[in-house]
């Protein structure tokens, strides 16, 4: 939703909109993800800025028609810069009663509801928990409801094709059941008409995908067109809409999902450093896609290792780092918990490796397919002993690419494990990405000693450089043989040491090394800071919602600015100053107030939390309202 777009009032012909939010919802088997992605694609190619958010059921393939089998794909497209997949829906496509039930609450008043009337039979209504059809009981009066016999229309379109084939004396391979499965393309065609979208990219897609199955291809094409023409000819729609191109920086674009961006970032980092990537991982939602993607990158020398569990995953990663390459591992909630002990080892060994936590709803198994930001304190503080680690967080799907590269730079420069936080929302959401020119990316410098660095030809594996990093001798190098381990080690020599003062010195040294990273990282930027009284501080995947909410607030004359942290440990070196410049600090997070706690402790500022723990991203409007309420509440603030 963009701030000042007019809500859809009654009109004729084509109406201009700044932006629109559409959600396709149906059964897991209805192909909603594909439908949504195709619509996204055509919108992006047209030139809108887009942002998407898929919402999967936890079950693999729940029984058809049930509410827990509902799969949704939301898309926000706009003629302006957008940062979120949208709050309320302008248009909802509900392929069955369960999809209606699960999604109707988010359709805005006066919004368009398109249903597949054929699926509103008794059985499906019952499965969705409706005692009678909501289409007829007046409960949908606030919406512009368009009930379409999509299955019937789909079947008819396919029958025509069949007839044609028969005329040509050819076989036709689609059963009636197969035919009915094309109905998502009917919905897609219809929505394309509704938003005046060109269908060429979709046609292209169908041609490619079903190149070897002519009947399926042609059936889908027919059905797609049928949907489009239905919108144009049927009398039920009073108008359609147009969302103009956005003023995006020129260049080559592609859709990019967070997990894929992360995988690409790791591979690119490994190439920039000249160190083939080792990726040790154990499958877990929503991190697994990174493994799937990296497993394809063999021609870049990427070695993926599907370990027997998360402990083996990180242990092998530590082994790979010791072996001298770029090493990474990823997991989510329960899996990251299991890695805790080994992360401690990595800190002690001072080896460069990357640990990724694609956060999901917790605690415990929690809500595996939902998003949350509740692992921040675990990331920074959740290990035994004083065990500091650099913690980064990506703010938007495409930024996952950059953060992976940055993590590698820090890991190598400071010889430290780096923990990267993303979340289920970032992992699965997409946005257009201006594809960078790889030759323009700075190489990542990595040095390996070849000569002893101590007196009498000794190699001192824990001697430190200006960033307090220790040298990284490659196994196999003559004369630099050394042993490392989890017991406290003597400064410089790295030998086991139980000396009390040495321990204190080493604890402080490891902390200082992490703190020093702030010296070479960029300063914190602030959006709209000039006159601001209130500072909104966020981190991670809430970036888009915070940014849009602050934009709205500023548009309404509120004196608010927004700082979004990419490095959570250490904090940016100028953060204290920025905080001091503001009268009030608000910290919206998808957790119980974790960053807020850290800021309060460190800067002794009465920062206030805005929390949401529903397994879902913030909506822009709810943030707008809550921030506004707190800004005008005289009881909080310094």
């Amino acid at each position: 939703m963009s701030v000042d777009s007019p809500s859809h009032g009654p009109a004729k012909a084509t109406m201009d909109l700044h932006s629109a939010t559409v959600r396709f919802a149906g059964d897991s088997g209805d192909g909603m993800q594909l439908t949504g992605m195709q619509f996204t694609n055509t919108s992006a190619i047209f030139g809108n800025d887009v942002s998407t958010f898929p919402d999967f059921p936890a079950e693999i393939r729940a029984p058809a028609g049930t509410v827990y089998g509902v799969s949704g794909f939301q898309l926000h497209f706009s003629s302006e810069d957008i940062f979120t997949p949208g709050d309320e829906l302008d248009t909802l496509v509900a392929m069955n009663p369960a999809a209606l039930k699960m999604n109707i609450a988010e359709l805005k008043k006066g919004g368009i509801l398109i249903t597949n009337l054929d699926s509103f039979n008794d059985q499906n209504l019952k499965l969705a928990g409706y005692s009678h059809s909501p289409l007829v009981d007046g409960s949908l009066d606030n919406y512009r409801v368009h009930s379409v016999r999509m299955t019937e229309a789909t079947l008819k379109a396919v029958e025509e094709l069949e007839a044609l084939r028969k005329e040509e004396g050819k076989e036709f391979s689609l059963s009636k059941k197969d035919a009915a499965r094309c109905k998502n393309f009917f919905a897609l065609g219809l929505v394309c008409w509704l938003y005046g979208r060109k269908m060429d990219p979709i046609v292209q897609f169908i041609n490619d995908k079903f190149a070897k199955k002519a009947d399926v291809r042609d059936a889908n094409l027919r059905v797609l067109n049928a949907g489009f023409y239905y919108g144009e000819t049927a009398e039920i729609f009073q108008n359609n809409f147009k969302v103009r191109k956005a003023a995006l920086p020129p260049g080559k674009y592609r859709e990019m999902r967070g997990n894929e961006a992360l995988a690409l970032g790791l591979t690119v980092a490994s190439q920039l450093a000249g160190k083939p990537l080792f990726y040790g991982s154990y499958p877990i939602t929503p991190a697994t896609d990174i493994l799937h993607e990296l497993a394809k990158h063999k021609s870049f020398g990427v070695r993926t290792f599907q370990a027997e569990d998360e402990i083996a995953a990180i242990a092998s990663t530590i082994g790979a780092a010791f072996a001298g390459t770029l090493a990474a591992t990823a997991s989510s909630g329960p899996g990251v918990a299991l890695k805790g002990e080994a992360m401690g080892l990595a800190v002690m060994l001072e080896l460069p490796l990357i640990i990724i936590n694609v956060q999901r709803g917790g605690p415990s198994t929690g809500l595996p397919t939902k998003t949350e930001q509740a692992d921040l304190l675990q990331a920074i503080l959740g290990r035994n002993g004083e065990c500091p680690m650099v913690v980064l967080a990506a703010a938007r799907p495409t930024e996952c690419f950059d953060i992976a590269i940055q993590a590698a730079r820090i890991a190598f420069r400071s010889m430290t494990p780096v923990l990267v936080l993303t979340d289920g929302y970032l992992a699965n959401s997409t946005e257009p990405w201006l594809v960078p020119d790889v030759s323009s990316l700075d190489p990542i410098e990595v040095e390996h000693p070849t000569e002893p660095n101590g007196p009498d030809g000794a190699y001192l594996p824990y001697k430190r450089d200006e960033w307090l990093a220790r040298p990284w001798a490659l196994p196999g190098t003559p004369g630099l043989m050394h042993r490392i381990g989890g017991l406290e080690k003597a400064a410089e020599t790295g030998n086991v040491s139980y000396d009390p003062s040495n321990h204190e010195r080493m604890v402080q040294m490891r902390q200082a090394k992490v703190d020093k990273v702030a010296e070479y990282l960029p300063e914190q930027e602030v959006f709209g800071q000039e006159d601001a009284e209130t500072l909104v501080i966020g981190w991670g995947g809430t970036y888009g919602a915070l940014r849009e909410a602050c934009t709205m607030l500023r548009a309404k004359g509120h004196k608010v600015s927004h700082a979004h942290l990419r490095c959570l440990n250490p904090f940016p070196r100028n953060l204290g100053e920025i905080i001091k410049r503001h009268k009030r600090v608000l910290v919206p997070e998808l957790n119980g107030g974790q960053l807020c706690m850290l800021l309060r402790a460190k800067y002794l500022v009465d920062a206030q939390s805005i929390t949401k723990i529903k397994g879902r991203p913030f909506m822009v409007t709810e943030l707008y309202e809550r921030i506004e309420a707190m800004m005008t509440d005289k009881t909080n603030g310094k």
Binding site: N41, A44, I45, G47, R244, A247, L248, P249, P250, G251, K252, Y253, R254, T267, V268, F278, H297, K298, F300, G301, R303, F305, A307, E308, D309, I311, A312, A315, S316, I318, G319, A320, F322, A323, G324, T325, A327, E341, G344, L345, L349, F401, L434, V435, P436, V438, S439, P475, G476, T477, L480, M481, H482, R483, I484, G485, G486, L487, N495, V496
Partner: protein, 346 residues
């Protein structure tokens, strides 16, 4: 990544680090350390080409005493660390040092997965049937009824049998040796060194502080001959101080016979075949004194592609077929669009 061996010659001293060895005086670990250093010195590969990776336990201090690359990692995870290491650096001679607690209690799962994958690692399991470092609790290999600090009334757990577990995981190399018999031990180590794949070696190791004499039947010079059979590929299973005993296959079962009695001759004895079926090695590995002699030596040695070899071969194959990846192509992907300077559409 490393310099050529050229004509460097190595001594035991080249493999000794400067750290003081800190095991209890009399501990069996000393003799294994000595044996390993001797074997490596003979083999002629320079120290920098070795990595010793261990978990936690008395035995796991081992890497500190070797002048090679080394890591004393965390409890139970040495094989997993070594797997990552070896995948990245198949050129490094990679040895894992572990204990019965480290490899079979907390690390049991990594042990079986490493073995089934056949990662090219030499795993030395120091089996002293006790947790040494934590001062004497029973371990997964302790016999039932064992009285220890944590089992004052005797343990009730049926022990795990290390080699059965290894064979159950389709080990390509399985052997057993005894700390106090350095010559035989060195022979086994040499074989392990030359095996391509996971070489799993159980070493009976005396913990003279918390479990003294657990393997006296196999260690004691006098008892040994009657309680241990040295396996040699292609040779019959003969043992006994007078070399008058042997093992025969009786239907489906094994049996100990005396040569010359009941009409048994040497020709009736079971002949050891390192390449036989897993189940045959399974049966031999489980022989245990007093009913049977414990089998020592190389029980199984077969060829199977190594995991690290296959990981890297798969990459080479892909590159051979498709060429090195083009990074720009990769990140650009297959579906892009161009945004020009904005102009009003339609």
């Amino acid at each position: 990544m490393t310099t050529a061996t050229e004509d460097r010659k190595f001594t035991v001293a080249d493999f000794a680090s400067s750290q003081d060895v800190r095991w209890c005086p009399g501990c069996g670990d000393y003799s294994v350390l000595a044996a390993v250093k001797k074997v490596l010195a003979e083999e002629g590969i320079p120290p920098e080409q070795y990595a010793f990776i261990s978990g936690i336990g008395c035995s796991s201090r081992f890497p500190y005493y070797m002048n090679t690359y080394g890591m004393h990692s965390i409890h139970g995870r040495a094989t997993a660390v070594a797997t990552g290491f070896k995948i990245v650096r198949p050129d490094m001679q990679t040895w894992v040092i572990t204990g019965d607690g480290d490899a079979l209690s907390i690390g049991g799962n990594h042990t079986i997965h490493t073995i089934r994958r056949n990662v090219d690692l030499k795993i030395l399991l120091f089996n002293n049937e006790i947790y040494g470092l934590t001062k004497g609790q029973y371990s997964p290999t302790s016999p039932q009824g064992k009285v220890t600090k944590s089992t004052p009334f005797g343990s009730i757990d049926d022990p795990l049998h290390p080699l059965s577990i290894a064979l159950g995981a389709n080990a390509s190399f399985v052997a057993r040796a005894v700390d106090m018999h350095p010559k035989h031990l060195m022979g086994v180590l040499r074989r392990a060194h030359h095996h391509k794949g996971t070489a799993f070696v159980e070493i009976y190791q005396n913990c003279n502080i918390f479990n003294d004499g657990a393997f006296s039947h196999a260690q004691d010079r006098k008892l040994r001959a009657d309680n241990v059979v040295e396996l040699v590929h292609g040779e019959p299973l003969v043992f006994g101080a007078k070399l008058d005993k042997g093992v025969v296959l009786d239907g489906q079962n094994l049996r100990v016979v005396t040569i010359g009695e009941d009409g048994f001759t040497k020709d009736d004895l079971l002949v050891h075949d390192e390449k036989a079926d897993l189940s045959i090695h399974f049966r031999m590995a489980r022989m245990r004194s007093p009913e049977f002699p414990d089998a020592i030596g190389v029980i199984r040695c077969v060829e199977r592609p190594t995991y690290d070899g296959m990981v890297n071969a798969q990459i080479e194959n892909v590159i051979a077929k498709r060429g090195r990846g083009d990074l720009q192509e990769l990140i650009t992907g297959r579906s892009t669009w161009d945004v020009a300077e904005v102009d009003e559409d339609e």
